[in-house]
C-alpha cells in the first residue's frame, strides 16, 4: 500500500512532472496533426452531402468536437480542483488553471460555430433555448474561473477559491448534455450517444470522431505546455527551477 502511494504521488511533484510533460508534448502535437488531417480529409472530401442541409452541415466537424471538449475539459478541471482540495497537491491547482483557457476557447468555438450554423439552417444566429443558454453559462463559468484566480495574488488561495467555483459549476454539465431531452429546445437531440446507434452516415461519423480525437490531443498538448509555464512561474524560488534556468542560460 505504501509503495503504491509513493508511485501514485511521484508525478504529483512539479519537479518530476516538468520533464515528463516536456517529453510528452511533441507526441500529442503529432497525434493532433495526424488525427486532424485525417478527420478533415474524411469530413470535407469523403463524407457524403447531407440530404436535408446540403454542404452546410460540414461545420459539424468542428462544432460537435468543440462542444464535447468544452464539457469534458470542464469535468477534468473540476476533477483536478477536487483533488487539489482533498490532497493539497500543488500540481492539481496548476492543472486546473492550465485547462481553463482551452476549455473557454472550445466553449466559445462551440457557440460561434453554432451561430454560424444556426443562421442558414434554423434562420437565426441565437435563441434563448436551454441548450444554447446553458452552453453560454459554461463559457461564463470558464471566464469566471480565470478571472477569480487572476484576482487573488496568493496562488494557493487562488487555487482554493477557483476549485470551489469549478466544483459548483459542475452541475451545469449534465444540464447542457440533457437539455435537449428534458425540455423543448430548438436545438435537435444528440446524433451520437453511448446508449444507441448513431443517427448519421458512417463516413460522417468517422470524420467527426477523428476531429474529436484531434481536439483531445491538441487540448492535452496545450494544457501540458501551459502547466509547464505555470510550474516555472510558481516554483521560481525553488532550487530545481533555478538550476534549470541556469542550465538553459
Amino acid at each position: 500500500m505504501r509503495n503504491k502511494l509513493i508511485n501514485w504521488f511521484r508525478y504529483a511533484s512539479p519537479q518530476t512532472f516538468y520533464p515528463l510533460a516536456g517529453r510528452m508534448i511533441p507526441w500529442f502535437w503529432g497525434l493532433a496533426a495526424i488525427f486532424g488531417v485525417a478527420g478533415l480529409f474524411i469530413g470535407f472530401l469523403l463524407a457524403p452531402t447531407d440530404a436535408q442541409q446540403g454542404e452546410g452541415y460540414r461545420i459539424i466537424f468542428l462544432h460537435v468536437p468543440a462542444s464535447w471538449m468544452s464539457m469534458f475539459i470542464y469535468l477534468v478541471m473540476a476533477f483536478w480542483a477536487a483533488t487539489g482540495l482533498a490532497f493539497n497537491t500543488r500540481l492539481s491547482g496548476m492543472m486546473a488553471s492550465a485547462l481553463a483557457p482551452t476549455g473557454a476557447l472550445f466553449a466559445f468555438l462551440s457557440l460561434w460555430t453554432g451561430a454560424l450554423w444556426g443562421k442558414p439552417m434554423w434562420g437565426t444566429w441565437w435563441v434563448w433555448d436551454a441548450r444554447l443558454t446553458s452552453e453560454l453559462i459554461l463559457l461564463f463559468l470558464y471566464i469566471g474561473f480565470i478571472a477569480l484566480q487572476a484576482a487573488i495574488d496568493d496562488p494557493r488561495r487562488a487555487d482554493k477559491a477557483g476549485a470551489i467555483l469549478a466544483l459548483v459549476g459542475v452541475v451545469n454539465i449534465p444540464i447542457i448534455y440533457f437539455s435537449v431531452q428534458w425540455w423543448n429546445t430548438l436545438h435537435q437531440g444528440a446524433s451520437v450517444s453511448l446508449t444507441r446507434a448513431p443517427s448519421m452516415a458512417a463516413m460522417m461519423l468517422w470524420g467527426m470522431l477523428l476531429c474529436a480525437l484531434a481536439c483531445w490531443m491538441y487540448s492535452i498538448a496545450v494544457a501540458l505546455m501551459r502547466v509547464r509555464v505555470i510550474m516555472l512561474e510558481r516554483e521560481r524560488h525553488t532550487d530545481w527551477v533555478r538550476a534549470l534556468l541556469r542550465g538553459k542560460a
Binding site: 439552417m121 434554423w122 435537435q188 437531440g189 448519421m200 452516415a201
Partner: protein, 159 residues
C-alpha cells in the same frame, strides 16, 4: 479520520447537496424553461394568454399557402393530435419544408390563428446522404401502401 478524508467527505457532501438543490430548482422551473408549446398544449390552455410565445411542431403536408406577393403565407402546424394555423409575413429559412419541424414566435389571435413574427426551422439529428434519405422515404411509402392494401383486404374479407 484523517484530515484528507474529512476534506473528501466535505467535497462529496457539498456536491451531493448542490445536485439536490439544482434538481429541485430545475424541477420548479420546468414549465418556464420550455422553448415552445405544442398545438396540443396551446389547445389545453397551457400557453400564456395575450402574450407572445412560441409554438413548435411539424408543418402539415400540403398546408402551405402563399399569397401572390410571395412573402405573405399561411401554414398549419401539427403535432399529429391538434392542428394550428399560422399566418406569417416574411422570409422563411431554407430548411422550412412541409413535413419538417418548425418553431414560430408570435401571438394567438382571437380567431384562433397564430400570427407569427418569426419562423425558425427545427431539423432533426439524422444526417444521411440524399440517396439514403430517398431509399428511406421510398421504404416508408411502400410500408404505407402495404398497410393500406392490407386494410383494404381486411375490409373486403369482412364483407
Amino acid at each position: 479520520m484523517k484530515p484528507r478524508h474529512k476534506r473528501i467527505a466535505l467535497i462529496l457532501g457539498g456536491l451531493a447537496i448542490l445536485a439536490i438543490a439544482a434538481t429541485l430548482v430545475l424541477n420548479a422551473f420546468r414549465s418556464n424553461l420550455v422553448f415552445f408549446f405544442s398545438p396540443t398544449q396551446v389547445a389545453a390552455g397551457e400557453a400564456p394568454q395575450g402574450k407572445s410565445f412560441r409554438i413548435g411542431g411539424m408543418v402539415k403536408e400540403g398546408s402551405l399557402q402563399r399569397q401572390p406577393d410571395g412573402v405573405t403565407l399561411r401554414f398549419v402546424v401539427t403535432d399529429t393530435e391538434k392542428d394550428m394555423t399560422v399566418a406569417y409575413k416574411g422570409i422563411l429559412p431554407d430548411l422550412f419544408q412541409e413535413g419538417k419541424g418548425v418553431v414560430a414566435q408570435g401571438k394567438l389571435a382571437a380567431d384562433g390563428v397564430f400570427t407569427a413574427s418569426e419562423v425558425l426551422a427545427k431539423h432533426d439529428e439524422n444526417y444521411m446522404p440524399p440517396e439514403a434519405a430517398k431509399a428511406l422515404g421510398d421504404a416508408h411509402q411502400r410500408a404505407a401502401a402495404n398497410r393500406a392494401a392490407a386494410e383494404a383486404a381486411a375490409r373486403t374479407t369482412k364483407q
